[in-house]
């Protein structure tokens, strides 16, 4: 058998085994997206209830809380970057990192020192490879985030926030994550977690939306003290869940494209293999005919 045919055979078989992997990964991603979206939906009641309560306390009682106080000049910021643990998800991680880089550049231009907190092995690898510093990293569950992780992240950034900036604390916290808009659209997004921009109570026509005048037990300050960390946790958790759903959607799409490309490639190689085989047959025939000719003449 000709060497060329053998090469094409090898290429075809390796491409088709890769295609099987892509197909399997696509199926896994597809089956897990539903679960991830269900988790996003399941966390909504909690997030809604807590947001409503926080805005009620913040808008109705004139409390001056460190978490809502806008600093006059902020000198140090923290940025939390949410990427995935694994690759093969198209441009998912790189687009988050790109968004984060833009934010970091912007903050640096404003003369702020930035502490970076990472979530996901891809972000860790990115920072490690470039020899850049980061404060902390959480890895291991980016495709199904745990509430405990969100709590840890919340606690870590709150601690930094409550520390004085001269002692290495920060006075604002940004969160970079991917927002899951639909199965085909996921957008990297930056939100400022702290200081909180609590949505003020708006006067609406819809009476159901107007917050009643609550009584607080114990005192509004203490209620806010207890609510705000939970609000942060819930915001972080919501971001992580969105990021997980986006990661799976991105992976599904990337694997679909990879599978389609593999099919194309197999088709191309099969054609080339057939060509090579035909060329070989033609060559053999020519040789036989030439041989017979030289004998008969």
């Amino acid at each position: 058998m000709g060497a060329q045919i053998r090469v094409y055979r090898q290429k075809i078989s390796s491409t088709s085994s890769m295609q099987k992997i892509f197909k399997a990964m696509e199926l896994i991603a597809t089956s897990r997206i539903g679960k991830a979206r269900a988790r996003v939906a399941a966390s909504l009641p909690y997030a809604k209830a807590i947001t409503r309560a926080v805005s009620a306390v913040a808008s109705q009682s004139e409390v001056d809380h460190p978490l809502t106080r806008e600093p006059e000049t902020s000198t140090r910021s923290a940025v939390v970057i949410c990427t995935s643990d694994r690759g093969l998800a198209g441009s998912y991680s790189s687009s988050v990192l790109k968004e984060a880089e833009e934010l970091l550049t912007k903050l640096a231009a404003e003369g702020k020192q930035v502490d970076v907190y990472l979530y996901g092995r891809k972000a860790e690898a990115y920072f490690e490879f470039r020899g850049r510093e980061y404060k902390r990293v959480w890895t291991g569950h980016t495709d199904e985030p745990l509430f405990e992780t969100a709590k840890e992240i919340g606690a870590a950034v709150l601690e930094a926030f409550n520390t004085d900036t001269t002692a290495g604390g920060v006075d604002e916290i940004h969160l970079v994550y991917t927002q899951f808009k639909s199965m085909v659209v996921q957008e990297p997004n930056v939100v400022r977690l702290l200081p909180l921009e609590v949505v003020e109570e708006k006067v609406t026509e819809n009476t159901a939306d107007i917050l009643p005048l609550y009584e607080y037990e114990p005192e509004p300050e203490q209620v806010l003290d207890a609510l705000l960390p939970r609000y942060i946790d819930s915001r972080v958790f919501a971001a992580l869940l969105q990021a997980a759903a986006s990661e799976l959607a991105a992976r599904q799409r990337a694997m679909k494209t990879a599978g389609d490309n593999a099919t194309e490639l197999i088709k191309k190689y099969t054609r080339l293999r057939n060509n090579a085989r035909q060329a070989e047959i033609t060559q053999e025939l020519t040789e036989i005919v030439a041989g017979a000719d030289s004998l008969s003449s």
Partner: protein, 89 residues
């Protein structure tokens, strides 16, 4: 008779929801009982148990691990960091 619309949610899932006659909760200041028509309240929960008396059937005991609860317009929302329906009690 007026009834309470009760919703118990934990961080990542809804735990229990339905109509109820009465809700008993244990706050940091002590016990609070909520009947229909209660004034709007936001209170912090102490770690412990919340009892819901549904319109029908036996009482539902819920183990709540800190959080808060709010009452408004006969709607009771119990928001706990972690909550499970305690079937043993």
């Amino acid at each position: 008779m007026a009834q309470l619309d009760v919703e118990v949610v934990a961080a990542d899932h809804a735990v229990w929801s339905g109509a109820a006659r009465r809700v008993n909760a244990f706050t940091v200041n002590g016990d609070i009982g909520v009947l229909p028509g209660h004034t709007p309240v936001i209170a912090l929960l102490a770690a412990g148990r919340v009892e819901v008396q549904p319109l029908e059937g036996p009482r539902v005991h819920i183990k709540a691990d800190g959080g808060f609860f709010s009452v408004e317009n006969n709607r009771v929302t119990i928001v706990a960091d972690d909550a499970v329906v305690d079937a043993t009690a």
